[in-house]
């Protein structure tokens, strides 16, 4: 279920529909099938997933705005390099901030915090922002995409933390949790089941409309 990620003309849509498109119709994880790299590794605890969702949102929005502003200055040949440069600058800022302010969180996240720069969402989206004319479009689209991604991430993290360890931020909710869900195999299985459920809903809805 992979659709191409081309950008729609901003002049034909209203502000809210631009946001909604990034959020639901072109949801990065379910529809476009990009950016599920951290989905398995990060969603072990809810705190981790909230943190990474915020970092991805920050990087996406700020690099989107910066690239829309810079688009006249970047020639075509070095576009890729400038894209990655801007994304990595903002990722480094976020990583430095988290390492300084929340050291336990940064050791829990480990290497997945710098790897946000290679998140396919960011690469996929911002390669489109340089082609468009309006900063508003890139702002709204990036906010929408990051909201969609954050929703998926936090929801999966919540599920996996409750069923995998039985805790919610150090508060034990029930005993005898299913430990394998908290490890990586359970992560793969959970994401697979979630994707299957979403597919099933979409197919049911599509079947009813006919």
């Amino acid at each position: 279920m992979r659709q191409t990620s081309n950008m729609e003309k901003p002049s034909e849509k209203s502000v809210f529909s631009m946001f909604l498109m990034g959020f639901w119709k072109r949801n990065p994880v379910f529809v476009l099938m990009v950016g599920f790299c951290p989905l398995v590794a990060i969603t072990v605890t809810t705190a981790n997933s909230i943190c990474i969702a915020l970092v991805v949102s920050f990087v996406l929005v700020s690099s989107g705005i910066t690239l829309s502003l810079l688009r006249k200055v970047i020639p075509e040949e070095i576009k890729m390099a400038v894209l990655m440069l801007v994304a990595s600058v903002f990722t480094t800022i976020a990583a430095l901030f988290i390492r300084a302010g929340f050291p336990q969180l940064s050791t829990a996240l480990g290497i997945y915090l710098p790897l946000v720069v290679m998140n396919c969402i960011i690469l996929d989206r911002i390669s489109g922002y340089t082609r468009n004319d309006s900063v508003l479009f890139s702002l709204l689209d990036s906010i929408g995409s990051s909201a969609g991604f954050s929703l998926v991430l936090v929801f999966t993290g919540f599920l996996r933390e409750i069923t995998g360890t039985g805790k919610l931020a150090e508060i034990q909710l029930f005993d005898k949790p299913v430990n394998v869900i908290a490890l990586y195999p359970g992560g793969f299985l959970t994401v697979g089941v979630l994707l299957a459920l979403i597919n099933w809903f979409v197919l049911e809805k599509g079947g009813k409309e006919q």
Partner: protein
């Protein structure tokens, strides 16, 4: 030819300019955040030390005979004990435990930190309970590993043995550090 070369040079110049600007920006951010990071780390470590050695106010890192340890001081610079880090292997992987040992070789506090990179399959709460039973004991109580007074973790005999060995090793290191110093 010259037009292509000038285009390449122009691209390289733009890219280099952007690199320089971003390096400058990052160095600004780093110089602002790095002192805060070091301060935060020291605060967390002092909190750990205070939890493990309850009576001490100041802490000082020392090395004696090749072994690193932390010496705790109470009021008026009276030595209040040592904090010794022990690394060992349990069922899941490597663990690190902080032991606060008083001057007469009794255990005052234990902090268990699991350093495995992935989530562990056991419960940290039962480990804290297990280590809590050692508070107030001295090495003479732990002569025999099959000592019936030592409660093992239910269902984890390998880890229990590793932890008891870690406790003994900590007290042994404290004794040898004092022996080297005198």
């Amino acid at each position: 030819m010259p037009k292509e070369i000038s285009k390449i040079l122009d691209n390289v110049f733009r890219l280099t300019l952007l690199c320089v600007i971003s390096a400058f920006l990052l160095s600004l951010v780093n110089s602002y955040l790095e002192p805060k990071r070091i301060e935060n780390e020291q605060n967390l470590r002092a909190m750990d030390y205070r939890q493990v050695l309850p009576g001490a106010r100041n802490f000082e890192k020392k090395i004696s005979g090749g072994k690193k340890y932390v010496k705790g001081y109470g009021q008026d610079k009276i030595p209040a004990g040592k904090i010794i880090t022990v690394y060992g292997r349990d069922y899941n992987g490597y663990f690190e435990a902080l032991f606060g040992i008083s001057e007469d070789y009794r255990i005052l506090g234990v902090k268990f930190m699991n350093k495995s990179e992935s989530t562990n399959l056991e419960d940290n709460a039962s480990k804290e309970d297990f280590f809590r039973q050692f508070i107030g004991t001295s090495v003479h109580d732990l002569v025999d590993v099959n000592n019936k007074n030592v409660k093992k973790i239910h269902g984890a005999p390998v880890s229990s043995k590793a932890y008891i060995n870690a406790v003994r090793k900590a007290i042994g290191e404290a004794e040898s550090i004092d022996a080297t110093n005198q």
